[in-house]
C-alpha cells in the first residue's frame, strides 16, 4: 500500500505541471499586460519598451513560463491590476472566510444527508424513500443562486430573523456569535448543493451493505435492527461516503463563488467575481491556481483514503 501511495504521488506531479502550464497559457491569452500598471500620461513609447525588456516580456515564451513558475514557488503571484498590492496578500486575506464557509457547508450537508440516506435505505420503497428521493432530486436540480435568493427573501426580508449578507454586522466588532449568525444561511445553501447527491450516495452505499450476508448473521444472532444497521452496517457503508468528500470539493468551490456573491461573503469566491469585473487577471490566475491545487490535493487524499480503507487495495 505504501507503494501505491508513492505511485499515486508520482502521478500527481506531471498533472501538477500540466496545471501550471494550462494556467500560464490562460494568462497569456488574457488581454492587458503588467506594463500597463506603470503607464502614466508622461510615459513615452521608449519607456514602455524599456520596461517591457526589463520585465522580461520579450523573452521566448518558455523562459517566461519558467520565470513565472519560479516566482510562483516563492509565493510571488504578482501584483493586482486594481489595487496594486501583492496578490498573495490579497488572496490570503480571503482564504479564511472561504474555508470556514466550505467546511461548515460540508458538515451541514453530511449531517443532513447521512441520517436521511440511512433512513431511505432501510425503508426502501416506502413513502419515506420516495419523499427523500424527491427531495434529493430537488436539491440537485434547484439552482444554487435561486435557493439563495429565495432564502434571503424568506428569512431576511419577510421573517427578518437572519441577516441579508456579509460576515459581520456593520459597525460591530464581529465576534464568534455574530459570525455564526451570518454564516448560517450561506453555509446551509452551499451545503444543500451537495446534500442532494450525497443522500443518493449514502442510500446506495447502505443498500449495498444492508444486503450483505454478514448483516443477516447479525440479525440471526438476535441483535436489534437499529444496532445491526448503525453499528455493523454503517461502518462499511461509511467507507465510500468518506471517500466521496474529495469528489465534492470541486463542486463546493464552484458553489462558493456563487454563494459568496449572493451573500456578500468576503471570501475567495467574491474576490473572483470582483476580479472578473475589473479584469484583474493576476488575481484571477492566482485564485484559479489555488483552487486547482485544492482539487488536486483533495483527489489525492481521496485516492489514498480509499487505499487505506479498502483492504483489497492494501494487499494489491
Amino acid at each position: 500500500m505504501f507503494q501505491y501511495i508513492i505511485r499515486r504521488l508520482l502521478i500527481a506531479i506531471p498533472v501538477l505541471l500540466g496545471v501550471t502550464v494550462f494556467n500560464f497559457f490562460i494568462i497569456n491569452l488574457a488581454p492587458g499586460n503588467p506594463v500597463d500598471m506603470y503607464i502614466n500620461p508622461d510615459t513615452t513609447q521608449a519607456d514602455i519598451d524599456a520596461k517591457k525588456e526589463a520585465l522580461g516580456l520579450n523573452d521566448p515564451i518558455y523562459i517566461q513560463y519558467f520565470r513565472w513558475l519560479g516566482n510562483l514557488l516563492q509565493g510571488d503571484f504578482g501584483f493586482s491590476y486594481t489595487t496594486y498590492e501583492p496578490v498573495l496578500d490579497l488572496v490570503l486575506n480571503r482564504v479564511g472566510p472561504t474555508l470556514l464557509l466550505m467546511s461548515t457547508a460540508l458538515i451541514i450537508a453530511y449531517i443532513i444527508a447521512i441520517p436521511i440516506g440511512i433512513l431511505s435505505a432501510t425503508k426502501q420503497y416506502s413513502w419515506i424513500d420516495y419523499l427523500t428521493t424527491t427531495f434529493s432530486f430537488l436539491g440537485v436540480s434547484i439552482p444554487n443562486f435561486f435557493l439563495g435568493l429565495g432564502s434571503i427573501y424568506v428569512f431576511a426580508l419577510v421573517l427578518n430573523i437572519l441577516p441579508t449578507g456579509g460576515m459581520f454586522t456593520l459597525g460591530s466588532n464581529g465576534g464568534f456569535a455574530d459570525t455564526l449568525f451570518h454564516l448560517i444561511m450561506p453555509a446551509a445553501i452551499l451545503g444543500t448543493a451537495i446534500a442532494g447527491s450525497t443522500v443518493r450516495y449514502v442510500r446506495s452505499s447502505m443498500l449495498e451493505v444492508l444486503g450483505q450476508d454478514y448483516l443477516r448473521t447479525a440479525r440471526a444472532k438476535g441483535l436489534k435492527e437499529f444496532i445491526v444497521t448503525n453499528k455493523h452496517g454503517l461502518k462499511n457503508a461509511l467507507i465510500p461516503i468518506i471517500t466521496i468528500i474529495g469528489m465534492e470539493i470541486p463542486i463546493l468551490i464552484g458553489g462558493a463563488v456563487v454563494t459568496e456573491q449572493i451573500f456578500q461573503w468576503p471570501g475567495l469566491g467574491q474576490l473572483t467575481i470582483q476580479s472578473i469585473s475589473s479584469r484583474d487577471y493576476p488575481t484571477l490566475m492566482a485564485i484559479n491556481f489555488i483552487a486547482a491545487l485544492a482539487v488536486l490535493f483533495s483527489n489525492l487524499i481521496t485516492d489514498i483514503l480509499y487505499a487505506v480503507v479498502d483492504p483489497r487495495i492494501k494487499y494489491n
Binding site: F22, S141, L149, I253, G255
Partner: protein, 308 residues
C-alpha cells in the same frame, strides 16, 4: 429466453432438417424496444419527459406564443403584473413573460449544444485511450486528470471573461471543458468490451480497426454515455444560468433565465418585485428537474443488472 413454437435445442436432429416455425418477424426484442418499455414504467421519468417536451415546445414556438417582442422596451419600467404584461416588466420596460418564453431557447440550446460537443470529443478520446492502451492511454488520461483538476465553474468563469461573454462562447467553453467525465466513462467501457470474444472475432475476421471500434465496441457503450449526457444537459443548463446570473454568460438584451435573475441581486428588487425573479428561477428548476428525472429513468432502464 425460449422461443415459442420452436423446439428446444435438445430436440434438434443433427442433420439438416427444417423445423416448422411460425414466422415471428417483428416480434424480436430489439435493445431499443426493451429500453423504451422499461423507461415508461418509471412514473417520474415519464413526468419528466412530458415537462421537458413542453419546454421544447415553448422554445420552438416562442415567437407564436409570446404576447410581446422580448426586446422591445414599450412597457413601463419595473411594472407589476397586469393585463398587458402578464408577469410585469423589467427595469428597462421589456415584457417579462415574453422574455421568459424566449429564454427557453437559450437554455435548451446551451444544454444540447454543449453536451453534443463534449460527448463527441470525450467519446473519441476515450475510445482511442481504451482501445490502443499503453502510452496513448497514459497521455490521454493525464490530460484528462489535468482538466479535471480545475473546479469547473471557476475555469469557465475565467475563460468566458477572457473570451468575452456571449451565448456562443458559453456553449463553446462548456463543450470544450466537459469531456473528461465522458472520456473516462468511454475508456472504461471500451476496456471491458475490448476483451469480449465477439470483438476478438471481429479482429480474426479481418475487420478494420475503425469498424471494430465504431460498429462493435461503441454501440455497446451507449447506455452509460446516454445517461451521463442526459444529466450533463441538466448540468449545462444550470451552468449557463449561473454564468448569466453573475453577468458572465448570455448578455442582455438576449433573454436568459439566468440573467433575468441578475437584477435580483439588489435587495430592493428582491424584496419588492418577486414577479421578476421567481418565475425564471422556477423555470430553471422545472427544466433541470425534468431532465434529471428522465436521466434517472434512463439509467434504471439500461441497468445491466436487471437486463436479462
Amino acid at each position: 429466453m425460449s422461443i415459442p413454437n420452436v423446439k428446444m435445442d435438445t430436440d434438434l436432429p443433427v442433420n439438416n432438417v427444417v423445423i416448422p416455425v411460425q414466422e415471428q418477424l417483428g416480434n424480436e426484442e430489439s435493445y431499443l424496444k426493451l429500453i423504451t418499455k422499461r423507461f415508461f414504467k418509471h412514473k417520474l421519468a415519464v413526468g419528466g419527459l412530458i415537462i421537458f417536451s413542453l419546454m421544447v415546445l415553448i422554445a420552438v414556438f416562442a415567437p407564436v406564443i409570446a404576447p410581446h417582442n422580448p426586446y422591445s422596451v414599450d412597457g413601463e419600467f419595473a411594472a407589476p403584473p397586469s393585463a398587458v404584461n402578464i408577469l410585469g416588466t423589467d427595469e428597462v420596460g421589456r415584457d417579462l413573460f415574453s422574455r421568459l418564453l424566449y429564454a427557453a431557447r437559450v437554455s435548451l440550446s446551451v444544454g444540447v449544444g454543449a453536451v453534443a460537443i463534449y460527448v463527441a470529443i470525450g467519446t473519441i478520446l476515450g475510445a482511442i485511450a481504451g482501445y490502443f492502451g499503453k502510452w496513448v492511454d497514459m497521455v490521454i488520461m493525464r490530460i484528462t486528470d489535468i482538466f479535471m483538476s480545475f473546479p469547473y465553474l471557476m475555469v469557465i468563469l475565467v475563460l468566458v471573461s477572457i473570451m468575452g461573454p456571449s451565448l456562443f462562447n458559453v456553449i463553446l467553453v462548456l463543450g470544450l471543458l466537459g469531456w473528461p467525465s465522458i472520456a473516462r466513462l468511454v475508456r472504461g467501457c471500451v476496456l471491458t468490451i475490448k476483451e469480449m470474444d465477439y470483438v476478438k472475432a471481429g479482429v480474426a475476421l479481418g475487420y478494420s480497426t475503425p469498424k471494430i471500434v465504431f460498429q462493435h465496441i461503441l454501440p455497446n457503450c451507449i447506455a452509460p454515455i446516454l445517461v451521463n449526457a442526459t444529466f450533463g444537459i441538466a448540468s449545462a443548463i444550470i451552468m449557463e444560468a449561473s454564468l448569466s446570473f453573475l453577468g458572465m454568460g448570455v448578455q442582455p438584451p438576449t433573454a436568459s433565465w439566468g440573467n433575468m435573475l441578475n437584477e435580483a441581486q439588489s435587495i430592493t428588487v428582491l424584496a419588492t418585485q418577486p414577479w421578476l425573479w421567481i418565475p425564471p428561477g422556477v423555470m430553471i428548476l422545472l427544466a433541470v428537474l425534468s431532465i434529471n428525472f428522465m436521466g434517472d429513468g434512463l439509467r434504471d432502464a439500461m441497468d445491466p443488472k436487471s437486463l436479462k
